[in-house]
């Protein structure tokens, strides 16, 4: 089938078999290998991408279902000038990754949640659901939790005058993780 995927703002006209998952087409046809495939069963979440702004498992969506729709992958997070997304900076600052395999999925699920709900950091239940969406076998999740809170606060311009945080750092530490 002939389809067109709009990935990170760029149109990709493609010829794909219906049986192929969005994740495989992103990696093999669009050559965007930042999206990782772990379990391919919708469990681990490493393949999470944004489909029309909503976080989905790209292993459980067919590429042909995305014809004409807008997809954002981890490659589309950084700004046009190459500056990392606040989430990427926060993940770095909080050491929210070790091996990095799960990181693209966590970044995308968190990016969708933050865009949907800028007050995410103040909603522990929602935050828990977001961080609990994917599997990480290195970090124990706590640093990821901290990173998402940090990014949410940075986005809200509240770094430096936080009412409460999961992990208070000494004053003077670089606030934006740069």
């Amino acid at each position: 089938m002939r389809i067109t995927l709009s990935v990170n703002g760029r149109e990709h006209p493609l010829e794909v078999e219906p049986r192929r998952a969005l994740a495989d087409v992103l990696r093999e046809d669009c050559r965007l290998t930042g999206t990782h495939l772990g379990c391919e069963l919708g469990v681990c979440g490493a393949c999470t991408v944004l489909l029309d702004g909503e976080a989905v498992r790209s292993c459980l969506v067919l590429a042909v279902q995305c014809d004409g729709r807008s997809i954002r992958t981890v490659e589309g997070l950084a700004g046009p000038d190459g500056r990392p997304h606040p989430l990427q900076e926060a993940f770095s600052a909080e050491h929210a990754l070790q091996c990095g395999f799960c990181t693209p999925g966590f970044l995308m699920v968190a990016a969708a949640a933050l865009e949907d709900d800028p007050g995410l950091a103040d909603d522990p239940e929602r935050l828990e659901a977001v961080v609990g969406s994917n599997l990480c076998r290195c970090t124990g999740y706590t640093p990821i939790h901290r990173a998402v809170v940090r990014a949410a606060r940075a986005r809200a311009g509240r770094i430096g005058r936080r009412e409460h945080t999961l992990h208070d750092e000494p004053e003077g530490r670089d606030a934006d993780g740069s």
């Binding site: 495989d24 459980l60 969506v61 279902q65 659901a129």
Partner: protein, 312 residues
């Protein structure tokens, strides 16, 4: 594994979808959210010749309140139920409580309530909710439209009264009256596991006494179960959780109802990590807990429900 080849059909109308499903000589499956179907295909448990993708059909994605019921079209995603405002009164609260335990946000963004009913997994939260609340399934097939009551719909694991050429077009869930408290409880090994046991409860109280009870059980038999014996045992009982909270002690009407649900209503199936005795214990505890929870919900929201003029 990667998916095997299949024919992909993307009808634009319900009629075309039914025609595609009815086309002779092939095993065609409906692709809605795909979060269970594509998973089953990856595991080799389903190998359809054709997928009929209904995502392009307009009008199936609407959720509305109509004639005392919440009507959710076949493409309404789980996510739509995350807000208690999806339905007025206790029903909206119950749906929002239950949906929080259905997979994770990215799965809930795709998966659908109608799809859960069609898939009919014995541990499905929506299926238990459907039997507890007397939901109805609207179907369209080659012979026209029909409505199936949830109590007649589930025939076993992944087996329903839906004919292969029928499409579920909507799920109709009756609203719950003001004066009803709701609760949901689920027991599972980890946040990534299916429910070992889940309980959906709606308790109607008049003058401090239980006047109506609806209890749905997931993971308690080869299909969703309505715990009718437990419900009967509660009628006329004082709607009073134990003093100081906590699990109702033996002898308390809520604990007795839990025991009855476990012994008489449930027919647990042995599974790794959950043999029938273990499940019966979990059922008894969870049912008792949801009954206390339903009274607490009513105390917290009953007044507001009543001021909103009842749900209907």
């Amino acid at each position: 594994m990667k998916l095997p080849a299949f024919d992909y059909l993307a009808p634009a109308t319900v009629g075309e979808a039914v025609d595609a499903l009815a086309a002779a000589g092939r095993d065609a499956r409906v692709l809605a959210g795909g979060q269970s179907l594509l998973l089953d295909m990856r595991l080799g448990r389903a190998r359809p010749d054709a997928l009929v993708d209904i995502n392009g059909i307009t009008g199936l994605g609407q959720v509305r309140v109509e004639e005392g019921a919440l009507v959710a079209g076949a493409l309404v995603r789980h996510r739509a139920f995350e807000s208690a405002g999806v339905a007025p009164g206790p029903l909206g609260r119950l749906l929002s409580l239950a949906v929080a335990d259905i997979a994770h946000p990215p799965i809930r963004a795709r998966g659908t309530m109608a799809g859960s009913l069609a898939w009919a997994h014995p541990a499905s939260e929506w299926c238990a909710m459907a039997v507890a609340l007397d939901a109805e399934v609207e179907l369209r097939g080659p012979a026209g439209e029909r409505v199936a009551a949830a109590r007649d719909f589930f025939l076993g694991p992944h087996a329903t009264a839906r004919a292969p050429a029928e499409l579920i077009t909507a799920v109709r869930v009756p609203l719950l009256d003001a004066g009803t408290g709701v609760a949901f409880a689920e027991h599972r090994r980890t946040a990534f596991c299916f429910a070992q046991v889940a309980v959906v409860t709606a308790l109607t109280v008049v003058d401090g006494v239980v006047a109506g009870a609806r209890i749905g059980l997931a993971g308690c038999a080869d299909r969703p179960v309505r715990a009718r014996a437990a419900e009967r045992s509660l009628l006329g009982a004082a709607a009073a959780p134990p003093e100081g909270g906590g699990t109702p002690p033996p002898g308390h009407p809520f604990a007795q109802a839990g025991r009855i649900a476990a012994e008489h209503d449930a027919a647990p199936v042995a599974e790794p990590y959950a043999d029938p005795e273990y499940r019966r214990q979990a059922i008894a505890v969870l049912v008792a807990r949801t009954l206390s929870g339903a009274v607490a919900d009513l105390r917290a929201h009953g007044e507001a429900d009543r001021e909103a003029g009842g749900a209907r």
